[in-house]
């Protein structure tokens, strides 16, 4: 019995030390700020509004929106994006036309209007904030990868 209690106490104390050590490494939204202190907030980054197309990281990546879209309505009533990017509007707006796939239904039939499943632009297309990535990214796109492979040979 005594032996069992000693073992239990040892295990519990070890666990407590472990948790204490680990807790300082866990990333929290408060960045381990003491409870009685207010964390200094980071500045809200700005949306890049350069109108310059960015490189895609992978072939099927939905292109990033290179301009601000504050208050652009995409609702049942109206689609602000399509007032420039639709097939009828690109001549006047000189904006890139939404790809032809966006006019296809899931059976591959072409529709006159943008397909309902593609209607909500900002489900896939987003703005780019002018900020540093929060997490390091080691992604290598396939072109770089194939070049590297060829070199290695």
């Amino acid at each position: 019995m005594k032996k069992l209690i000693t073992t239990l106490v040892l295990v519990v104390s070890a666990a407590v030390t472990y948790v204490q050590a680990e807790s300082s490494n866990i990333a929290t939204l408060r960045d381990n700020t003491a409870l009685n202190e207010q964390k200094k907030t980071t500045a809200i980054p700005k949306v890049i509004n350069s109108d310059i197309k960015q490189k895609r990281s992978y072939p099927m990546q939905p292109p990033i929106i290179p301009h601000t879209t504050r208050n652009y309505e995409v609702t049942l009533n109206s689609n602000k994006c399509m007032s420039c990017h639709s097939r009828q509007r690109t001549e006047e707006s000189q904006a890139p036309m939404v790809s032809v796939t966006h006019y296809m239904d899931r059976e591959g039939n072409f529709l006159a209007e943008i397909s309902p499943r593609r209607y909500f632009c900002n489900q896939c297309h987003v703005n780019q904030f002018d900020t540093k990535p929060e997490v390091e990214n080691t992604f290598v796109d396939m072109h770089t990868q194939t070049k590297q492979n060829a070199k290695a040979k």
Partner: protein, 196 residues
Amino acid sequence: MKRVLTIAWQTIRKPSVHFSLGFLVLGGFIAGIIFWGGFNTALEVTNTEEFCISCHEMEANVYEELKPTIHFSNRSGVRATCPDCHVPHNWTDKIARKMQASKEVWGAIFGTINTREKFLAHRRRLAENEWRRLKANDSLECRNCHNFDYMDFSVQSSRASKMHSTSLASGEKTCIDCHKGIAHELPDMSNVEGWE
């Protein structure tokens, strides 16, 4: 009726018996200031955001929709309130608009848009009224603040400067042609030019 009018006309025509000319001129002058001042004050009271949103139709629908937009809150702290965009600043145009607004008083009394559903049902018509007005006066209420001559294209985004230096500069387009729905949500936009 004719007798009453005749008596009134004779009274007006006759010179005053009891009051001096000075009293009448000065009295008329002071009364004029009071009446005109009162009229103008009353007019200005109806030209405030507070007055506009005293009707729940305005407060619950269009005012709520204005709140997240750039005309309500922005980096430089300039706010456009209801009358800045919806009432002409020139006196004669303002009076004309105020007379039209009597229709809105009718609507408020009889509850034309007193629920959200009714408001949404009327939204396209109401929006078209405003688009038509701004189109007709070359977006005057926009230009009260956004003066084309003072625009610096070099600090606009490339898209904006391209559009402003061509279509807007040539007078082919006016502000409202492109900037619809900037302060309130849009109605069903089917068959609106530029939204096909």
